[in-house]
Amino acid sequence: MDNIKTIEKIAYKQPAVIFNEFDPLKDEILRIIDNDGHVINEELFPELDDETVIKAYKSMLFARVADDMAVSFQRQGRMYTYPPINGQEAIQIAAGLIIREDDWLVPAFREMAIMLAKGVTLREIFLYYMGNEQGSNFSKAKHVLPICVPIASQLIHATGIGYSINYQKKDEVVFPYVGDGGTSEGDFSEALNFAGVWKVPVIFTIQNNQYAISFPVSGQTRSVNLAVKAVAFGLPGIKVDGNDFFAMYVAYKQAFDHARAGKGPVLIEALTYRKGAHTTSDDPSKYRTKEEEMEWDKTDPLQRLKKYIVRKGIWKEDEEKLIEEYKLEVEKQFTEAENFTPYPLEDVFQFMYVDTPDVLNIQKEDYKLYQNWKESRK
């Protein structure tokens, strides 16, 4: 009766080893170090030299410093609404080690750390949150899409980019991000379904930080977890401890090899916690307890990795000094953003179209007339 199934089906756990070992249906989770930085899964421990691990830790630290400062810049009224990434650094820095220059990053809006890793400058990120779209015109980073606010819609773009890659016979891989809340949007399902059908090289990451603004993930769905949603689209899915840098690295590494080998898309649920507010306009005390926050504090990705490297005896730096350095760097980039040229009237109109219709020019000229009039009254 199923004789017309002409397209081969990916069984939900056929591919890369790792996706076989941790069954989302049984709610299994990939974890490599525990909260104290002890290795609990030697077998899967990745081959990473110490230098790389240290570099990763420093990138996480830099992201944390930049994030904290962003929040305080916002409080000082020097920036507008900003969504902190505090607590989600391991996921993004692990991905940052894997993603290559010509791979594609398709962010939601809480991906500052991987954007930095991909070559977006802090200056650009700050400029954006200062309310200037020029911050999304990346000067150095290649193949990074601007922040996408309409939840989950960006996942579909990633699938489309994946089609292009296959079509153009390139070997690029696409890294789209979404939150736990975003898995409820229809676009999430459509993106994964098309990705499966087209067998595109796309690694979908759900940053499950437990909340969609005030709403806990427990209310988003009755599925046993979010990784299991891959089953509905014939994708391999895996649940990973997102605050465990090594686990994230291993998952990304395998997913990347899988995708580049033409084996199609995968779904990674990265379990983490949004330590900060949803955005600077949000007050988490309205909807969650201090106890819960403290419970999750124990899993903090930076502390965990730090404990590992300290115990291994490979940490030689003075962290305080490092933080001071980072602060100066962040400050510098922030100042550059603050000193960016004022927003000209042209920028309101110029980028709506490649081939700008007359009506926009007329509106602009009309506005100038009004400005002149205003000037003349002074």
Partner: protein, 325 residues
């Protein structure tokens, strides 16, 4: 009487209707426990329980579509969409189902349902948080579209919307959510849908606006007064069905009309008002009707937004030009 902001007035209207009618339910993203990102529904879940005021999963099509299902089966849902720019995932449910179920079933089913969301610019927000999509919804047969401009209107109009057996899009001017305080009756009262309100009588020019632009127009009128121009200010209140009569009456008196709204100018409510001016008062027009509206662009981010947003002096400038025509 209590002094209320628009946020409080809406909350009060919901409170009254939840209290009065067990078939009213209120939900949306973050609308329950937190009381919505603007705290419009604050306290209601505590008072009426999680079955009547609740958080929904994050999916606008489902929020609106389930509301329709509820409306068909005995409830009067008031659903909240978080921002103007996030109403579009629900567009198909709104245009293809909500607005049509009564017609499709030839009256067998009614759709007593309200879709609320904050709209408009001027709050230095991220992209998609500053939009004015009223023209899109007003063009859809089967919907009513309502926009209040004051706490009093916000309450009275919302009560009418909830009592309406037709589906209503209720757009809340977020920029003035808390900017205007006003004495509002604590009792239940309603304001009829489909009727505009002459806020100030005048003789030289008719200014038509709605929502957050009313306040800007009022500021412009101070300047106009100084310049000796008598402005008649009309608050549309309901975008669809639009009150042609009140507008036409006014134009017949003043001979001139200036339309003020935030949305992109082309194919806008401004265009419809100009059409009405022609259809209903052609022979009375002494100057071309004028739209003072947003550019045909996305509302810029904070640094560019001041150029996009319509200011009192720009309104005055256009009023003066129209009067001098």
């Amino acid at each position: 009487m209590s002094v209320m902001t628009i946020v409080q007035a809406i909350n009060n209207a919901l409170d009254i209707m939840l209290e009065e009618d067990k078939s009213v339910v209120v939900y949306g993203e973050d609308s329950g426990r937190e009381g919505g990102v603007f705290r419009v529904t604050e306290g209601l879940q505590k008072k009426y329980g999680v079955e009547r005021v609740f958080d929904s999963p994050l999916a606008e099509s489902a929020i609106v579509g389930t509301g329709l299902g509820m409306a068909l089966s005995g409830l009067r849902p008031v659903v909240e969409l978080q921002f103007d720019g996030f109403t579009y995932p629900a567009f198909n449910q709104i245009i293809s189902n909500v607005s049509r179920m009564h017609n499709r079933s030839r009256g067998m089913y009614k759709v007593p349902m309200v879709i609320r969301f904050p709209y408009g610019g001027g709050i230095n927000a991220l992209e998609h948080h500053s939009e004015s999509p009223e023209a899109l919804y007003a063009h859809i047969p089967g919907l009513k579209v309502v926009i209040p401009s004051s706490p009093h209107d916000a309450k009275g109009l919302l009560i009418s919307c909830i009592e309406s057996d037709d589906p209503v899009i209720y757009m809340e001017p977020k920029r003035i959510y808390r900017a205007i305080k006003q004495e509002v009756s604590d009792d239940k009262f309603s304001i009829p849908l489909g009727k505009a309100k002459v806020l100030t009588e005048g003789s030289d020019v008719t200014v038509v606006a709605f929502g957050a632009m009313i306040r800007e127009c009022q500021k412009a009128m101070v300047m106009a007064k100084e310049a000796g121009i008598s402005v008649e200010l009309i608050d549309l209140r309901t975008i669809y069905p639009i009150d042609k009569e009140t507008i036409a009456e006014s134009i017949k008196k003043t001979g001139r009309i200036v339309i003020v709204a935030e949305a992109p100018e082309s194919f806008s409510v401004g265009a419809e008002l100009m059409a009405i001016a022609n259809e209903e008062a052609f022979l009375y027009l002494e100057a071309p009707p004028k739209r003072v509206m947003g550019f045909d662009t996305i509302v810029p981010l904070a640094k560019g937004e001041p150029m996009y947003m319509i200011t009192p002096d720009r309104i005055f400038y256009e009023i003066e030009r129209t009067v001098k025509y």
